[in-house]
């Protein structure tokens, strides 16, 4: 039978590869994933990409597709959650108390804060929201180094180019060169959610079963191992 085709945000790769391996072992069926940026994947789906399942890194692109009638709304669910953290290069790491009005600007001095793009990339958008709600956005807005994606932002910290960066906890945990110096309070930004759904044009009979597999409690430890929080 045809393999199930997932379109998934690239940051999910490590976790999803394991999930798929488990599915193969269990059912003997194939599944394959096209990992890319959520925006690219969404646009491809708009143009009739032969995908069965979409797992986005943020709600916006899923909403976009749903409005266009390209997903099966009844199958949509919030699959995973993530959190954002403040990281520092290992060499200069000092814990930072993150709260309203915390002195991020003075911590930076004349250096920069690395983030994923604050208007385009989900991690950047969440970071911006958090800084805004904590009232420090104005002070650091001019001192940002915005990267194409979270990993690139992390690289800037990891290389010591910047003293601080805001990245996903999932990424921070895996990089030995950086240290998490502070966690952003959950309420300081909209919840970080990876929604998943079956696509309207999917004809693969195994797709629904695969999605169930992904959501199954058995897979929970896999995702948690990679730093995600699992909903439901």
């Amino acid at each position: 039978s045809e393999p199930v085709t997932l379109f998934a945000a690239a940051s999910l790769r490590n976790a999803l590869d394991e999930v798929i391996a488990a599915w193969k072992a269990e059912t003997g069926k194939q599944a394959r994933t096209s990992y890319a940026g959520s925006s690219a994947l969404a646009k491809q789906i708009e143009q009739g990409a032969p995908a069965d399942i979409f797992i986005s890194a943020d709600l916006a692109w899923m909403d976009h597709l749903q409005k266009a009638g390209l997903v099966k709304p009844e199958t949509r669910s919030n699959l995973l959650g993530n959190s954002i953290v403040l990281v520092s290069p290992k060499a200069e790491a000092k814990p930072v108390e993150i709260g309203p009005g915390f002195p991020l600007a003075s911590l930076l001095g004349d250096r920069r804060l690395a983030m994923a793009d604050t208007s385009a990339v989900p991690a950047g958008k969440y970071g911006k929201a958090a800084l805004q709600s904590l009232g420090v956005w104005e002070a650091v807005e001019g001192r940002l180094a915005q990267a194409e994606n979270v990993r690139a932002a992390l690289a800037l910290v990891s290389r010591g180019e910047v003293p601080y960066g805001i990245v996903y906890a999932t990424d921070a945990a895996a990089d030995p060169n950086v240290v998490i110096v502070g966690h952003f309070p959950a309420g300081s930004h909209p919840p970080i959610i990876y929604p998943a759904a079956l696509l309207a044009e999917s004809k693969n009979p195994d797709a629904a079963a695969f999605l169930t597999h992904v959501k199954s409690p058995k897979m929970k430890p896999v995702f948690e191992k990679h730093g995600f929080t699992v909903f439901n």
Binding site: R32, A49, P50, T170
Partner: protein, 237 residues
């Protein structure tokens, strides 16, 4: 080195990249040559426009090029739909699409190299061939073409190398489906997107570099042979 051992999936990506680069190079060859010839030799209305279009993939961010390809050649795209229904040719989310994207991205490089060569051909040699009875087409085949071989080789290797590295347009156009559209650069990209992926990215990068280097060296050897054949024979100093 164990570290260099490829997973079956990665092996697939290597093979696919080679196939895509090869076909991208080959398929753009005739079109590129014709375009280069047109631009080098003729003056016509809209020449600037054609020249501009040729250069577009260079000027545009690859993502935009990929998106335009998606809009044009996608399943729902103006040309894509037509090609599909009329000839059953599908680019969308196939390796052929990746080849198309790579060909398009490499096109300006290929055309420029060939055009430069065509412009330096001594037209008096073509005239001489004409007086010997060769029709314009035969002149092209027997005189112009051999003389511009260095440019053709340069154009081909540029196109090939570009195809080995192209990623933005490809992943935007045909996505990143293992075994179908996942090229080496796409695979590398995904590695860079996850924690701990650096080693994998590095490994694939080395492989990609090794392949391209081999192609490069081969092209140099070829070019040298051609050059020694056509050489002006100026006394060595």
């Amino acid at each position: 080195m164990d570290w260099l051992a490829l997973s079956p999936e990665e092996l697939t990506a290597v093979r696919l990249s080679l196939r895509i680069a090869f076909w991208a190079m080959l398929a753009s060859l005739p079109v590129g040559l014709a375009t280069a010839f047109l631009l080098a030799r003729y003056d016509f209305w809209g020449k600037s426009i054609l020249n501009g279009i040729v250069h577009l993939p260079l000027i545009l961010p690859p993502v935009v090029t990929g998106y335009i390809l998606l809009l044009l050649f996608g399943r729902r795209g103006a040309i894509g739909e037509f090609l599909d229904q009329s000839f059953g040719i599908v680019f969308a989310f196939r390796w052929t699409g990746a080849a198309l994207a790579c060909a398009v991205m490499g096109f300006p490089l290929m055309v420029r190299a060939m055009r430069l060569s065509i412009e330096t051909v001594d037209r008096r040699l073509e005239q001489a061939a004409g007086t010997l009875g060769a029709s314009p087409f035969m002149v092209f085949l027997t005189v112009t073409l051999p003389l511009i071989l260095p440019g053709i080789i340069a154009g081909m290797i540029l196109s090939f190398a570009k195809a080995m590295g192209e990623f933005g347009a490809t992943i935007t156009f045909v996505s990143n489906i293992p075994g179908e559209t996942q090229t080496l650069p796409s695979a590398i990209y995904v590695f860079t997107q996850v924690p701990g992926g650096d080693a994998g990215a590095m490994r694939l990068t080395l492989i990609s570099v090794a392949i391209s280097m081999a192609a490069l060296i081969a092209s140099e050897l070829l070019a040298r042979r051609v050059a020694s054949r056509v050489g002006q024979g100026a006394p060595a100093t």
